[in-house]
């Protein structure tokens, strides 16, 4: 009897859930556009990537890394773009404005002298931007061992419904 009742409740829930969605002001698609963690889309890899580059990660891995709150996210764009919308909690190291001289000291101080094996995700705006690639190469060269590149960048992040942190209003 318990199983029969459980099935009745499930059928009722299916009817009510799917039916209410038809008239709900907050209706959603019945099949959502979510990617699985094991989705086959895979990371976006730029054509000029080289064999020894740090690994490229996709949106799912980037999101998972972000959820751990141990991983440092670095936005490689210039400050203005960074402030207009960045992955929450990211730090900004504008690749185009890297100083002359002691890059090791500069990178270490930007990262707050964290351990070299701390997970790092570098990104910029998306596929048209290769600042993340160059910054990641620098970080790897200067001893950071767990650098990854999220080449989909802030645009891919936003496209999958993940919020960006906006530090100033950049509309218009």
């Amino acid at each position: 009897m318990a199983i029969r009742q459980a099935i009745i409740l499930l059928i009722l829930a299916i009817i009510l859930g799917l039916g209410a969605n038809l008239v709900s002001p907050n209706k959603i698609e019945y099949i959502g556009a979510y990617r699985n963690l094991s989705g086959s889309d895979g990371p976006i890899i730029p054509p000029d990537a080289e064999e020894n580059d740090p690994p490229f990660i996709d949106i799912n891995v980037a999101h998972l890394e972000h959820s751990t709150q141990r991983t440092i996210f670095i936005d490689a764009r210039e400050k203005e773009e960074f402030e207009c919308g960045t992955i929450p909690g990211s730090i900004n190291i504008p690749f185009e404005y890297m100083p002359e001289g002691d890059l090791q000291l500069y990178l270490d101080s930007c990262l707050g002298h964290v351990a070299y094996d701390r997970p790092i995700v570098v990104y910029c705006s998306g596929e048209e931007c290769d600042l993340s690639l160059h910054l990641a190469r620098n970080l790897a060269e200067y001893g950071y061992t767990r650098v990854t590149i999220f080449f989909g960048g802030s645009r891919e992040w936003e496209r999958f419904g993940l919020g960006l942190e906006r530090r100033r209003d950049c509309d218009g």
Binding site: G17, I28, T68
Partner: protein, 136 residues
Amino acid sequence: MISRLFIGVVLIYASFYKVIDPGSFARSIWFYHMVPGDLINLMALILPWLELLCGLALIFGVCYRGAVVWANVMTIIFIIALYSTIYRGLSVDCGCFKASGAAAYKAWKSLAFDLVMLIFTVQMFFSRSKKWWLAQ
């Protein structure tokens, strides 16, 4: 009777915001990375209504045994899901009550609450009492 009321009220309360805003709940489910992408929205639409129906069934004693089965199954699934987020080091929005989208809910706190819930649901599962049933 206390178990029925407690679990019934918790399930109804838990379902409330999810029924109203299934989109936010869908995102909470996605954050767990445990459900295939194509099933997330369907789950977000159906699960809150199942919680609501089970809560009402427990309180009013209609389809009571079936509701007890679902209460146990759902609680166990919630415990597994929460434990998996702790094990994987994720900090996700629990999605237990109000799906906020913020990734900062204390999973341990939710897990402890679900374990307490499990004590009540298991007690109901083994209880043969038919007091205050409106219908069998």
